[in-house]
Symmetry: C2
């Protein structure tokens, strides 16, 4: 199959997807970046609630990661990630969220805003950012201590432990998402917060099934650090075990960071991961703080696919 | 001099400059668009006051007029002129004003925002938008009924008659403005509101003198309609007579619309205009409403220069 351009679908949201896409951008591959659209409290989420638009935050981050290095695209990508001061009347909004909202409001639909952003940022042939759904839904967490928490932001900020999540109501997928997964040679899940960035995508009608039905190799990129309320104390196998019911299966491979960072390192119990049916791949993919290094991560993913 | 690229400086602001620049864009000429920066109440003015930035409204309009017709530039120009709903938390702001503010705040200076916008919009060689000044000042009108009014917006909304205007304090010019005027083959003043768009540029230190000292042909484009509080009841010669002290002279030519529109037509007293030392040029330059037609106006200006 050498010489054939690979088709990769990434599934996630937030800074995790931004990092992975930054690392994958330079390779000769097609990329469909599927991102979560259930932000309830960030700049994109707040604008979406007020203006009745898509919460554009995660879409913007994916777009700016995939932006061409040529001008004016690179300048625009940087401008789109500029964030106004939280104390001003612009309320901490990211510039690109405002821009995507403006186009959606002007055109009356989100699809044209996506096309517009592709042109602004010079994404190029075979590269797209796909909101997992264009419909409104609230992420709801069932807590291990009992009770439920409504809203992505509220779940992330909670002091309890998430037992599971669902979307209310269950939204229909944005059609190109299912098509991209069907055609994919590889589907990469993560990195990103397990319950608030990665799994929400799998809760959208038809997405998990499309992954099961496809011939794509599946790769899970585990976060570098554990996270309060979502994955506190998790070992490598815990991430896979929690992901499995939402994926309706386990990933073929899971990439774990092998180098100890400053905080919240994930211990990788390789035998347990393997027992679940997933091949663990340990590599030094550590970047700054508790994030992945985009190019180290991109290289490992490229080798796997 | 055929075969030598002409250098044109336009002086004005608002929709008048946008129209003229749209009409001039297609010709093989260099263009420096000098625009007023003393907006006190529009989207740009309000952001400037809150964020301590340049009031970007007139600069944005000039930029989007000069934008390349190629993509992504044309798409961006349209996006920059999108205006959020006045009732939303985005308070009627024009998208491009937000973008130019974002860059000024990120870079810490207005000049880099100008360079950035040139790249976004693909202005091309020899074409620039120049804020007349980067310094803060308030436009003050001395009213014929007595008393003064502070602020561009407040003057435009007044029920009295403006006798004259000044800037408090007198701001220094943005240096490239004087340089552009010195090198110009033609300086076009207007169209635009006489006291709130055109004359404020001439009140900035050194601008009027630079026009006098240059060898440029000077052309005044008179508005299609008169305006309450500023030019109510004015004949053609009244515009020239009121402009003269601020220009420290009269323009070589004045373009007047020859076709009667629906409202507020300007009567052109050709002999009186000529007696002031200005050659009147009557032409059908009427567009929609009480505005010029960009291409009709552009053609007349092109012939004159």
């Amino acid at each position: 199959m050498e010489g054939v351009k690979k088709r990769v679908v990434t599934i996630g949201g937030g800074h995790g997807s931004h990092t992975l896409l930054t690392g994958l951008k330079k390779y000769w591959i097609d990329i469909d970046a599927v991102v979560s659209t259930f932000d309830s409290g960030g700049s994109g989420g707040r604008l979406g609630q007020e203006l009745g638009t898509l919460p554009w935050g995660d879409v913007r981050l994916a777009f700016t990661a995939l932006a061409s290095d040529k001008e004016p695209h690179a300048k625009l990508a940087r401008a789109m990630n500029y964030r106004f001061n939280g104390g001003s009347s612009l309320d901490g909004h990211a510039m690109g969220n405002l821009m995507l909202n403006a186009i959606q409001l002007e055109k009356g639909n989100a699809q044209e805003a996506l096309q517009e952003a592709e042109a602004w940022l010079g994404l190029g042939e075979g590269r797209h950012v796909l909101p997992v759904s264009l419909e409104k839904a609230t992420l709801v967490a069932v807590m291990e201590e009992g009770g439920v928490i409504y809203g992505e932001k509220e779940i992330g900020a909670s002091d309890g432990s998430v037992g599971g999540v669902y979307l209310d109501p269950i939204p229909r997928p944005y059609a190109p998402v299912l098509e991209a997964i069907r055609k994919a040679d590889a589907v990469i899940l993560g990195p990103g917060d397990l319950y608030t960035s990665v799994i929400p995508n799998l809760l959208v009608g038809g997405v998990a099934k499309a992954i099961c039905d496809s011939n794509a190799k599946t790769v899970y990129v585990c976060n570098v650090a554990t996270k309060k309320s979502e994955t506190s104390g998790f070992k490598g196998s815990d991430f896979i075990a929690r992901l499995a019911p939402y994926m309706m299966g386990v990933p073929d491979y899971a990439i774990f960071n092998s180098r100890r960072g400053d905080n919240g390192h994930v211990d990788v119990d390789e035998a347990a991961v393997r027992a679940l049916g997933t091949e663990p791949v340990l590599a030094d993919v550590l970047g700054e703080g508790d994030r992945h290094h985009p190019h180290r991560l991109g290289q490992v993913v490229r080798v796997l696919i």
